[in-house]
């Protein structure tokens, strides 16, 4: 096989915009691996054994600091695992954890990630996100799959004033435009 020396481009080309009280920036270099399963108890056992972790329930996340994993529990039969991408086969790293209890797919190149942060971040998102993002309702660590500007989006609160948004790479620029427009409307 021929040897190529290629440099990957991120979906949003490193987008970074700062507004008064709100920052919108692309998050790149993350491996994103989906684990689908039919037997939750089986996967729970596998994760407890390999990571000493209780699998979070739908709508919640868990962090494994030792391996820098972020586990997003998206639906009753699917989780996403995010972690720094170091190799070409992140799916194999997760398959090792899930054992034979999960169907593992590498989705790293399928998603564009944006972080909206700062004291105005919730206000900035309120025109585009239908979910109640009040910190008592959508608490730190919460995750949800929803719609913003007709685009499917996964939203995760990773801090009091910080949200991680994930949307399909194929419509990444429209998504970023929608988010930036939403910020500009309130700033």
């Amino acid at each position: 096989m021929a040897e190529f020396d290629l440099i990957a481009e991120s979906p949003l080309n490193g987008l970074q915009r700062a507004f008064e009280g709100v920052t919108v920036e692309e998050v790149s270099g993350r491996a994103i691996v989906s684990v689908a399963f039919s037997d939750r108890a089986g996967l729970e056992q596998a994760v407890r054994t390999s990571l000493d972790l209780t699998l979070p329930f739908v709508g919640n996340t868990a962090r494994v600091e030792t391996r820098d994993l972020l586990i997003l529990s998206l639906q009753s039969d699917q989780i996403f695992v995010l972690f720094p991408q170091t190799g070409h086969r992140p799916d194999l790293e997760i398959a090792e954890i899930a054992g034979d209890q999960g169907l593992v797919t590498d989705q790293s190149d399928g998603w564009a990630l944006l972080r909206v942060s700062g004291p105005g971040s919730r206000t900035a998102l309120e025109r585009i996100c239908m979910l109640d993002l009040h910190p008592d309702i959508f608490t730190v660590g919460a995750v949800a799959r929803t719609v913003m500007e007709h685009l499917g989006v996964i939203i995760h609160r990773d801090g009091e004033q910080s949200f991680l948004l994930m949307s399909a790479r194929s419509s990444a620029e429209s998504f970023a435009h929608a988010v930036v427009t939403s910020v500009e409307n309130v700033i």
Binding site: V58, L74, Q75, S76, M130, L131, I137, A144, T146, V147
Partner: protein, 95 residues
């Protein structure tokens, strides 16, 4: 319209797609003697009630779950939301 999802809490109806009468869960036995008649009724015959209606909604832009929503067709008031999976299991289906 807001659908109060049993796992996720209140979600806007625009995140869902609508399928129809929840009786679709009760798929007839294809081995039955009168299977053709049962499937005819299953596919074509629907009640069209004024008032309470049990119906299937799919949370496409959410957790991809099927729900059985009890909705008043006159007022759109939603009185009950269940996971279709739980309803199916309660009726003796495996999943």
């Amino acid at each position: 319209m807001i659908i109060n999802h049993p796992l996720l809490g209140p979600r806007d109806a625009s995140e869902f797609t609508y399928l129809g009468d929840a009786s679709l869960i009760d798929r007839p036995d294809p081995e039955a003697d009168d299977a053709a008649k049962q499937f005819h009724d299953y596919v074509y015959l629907r009640d069209n009630p004024v008032g309470e209606h049990r119906e299937l909604w799919f949370h496409e832009h959410g957790d991809r779950s099927w729900l059985v929503v009890t909705r008043n067709t006159l007022t759109h008031e939603i009185t009950r939301v269940e996971l279709a999976k739980d309803v199916a299991i309660a009726r003796g289906r495996r999943r």
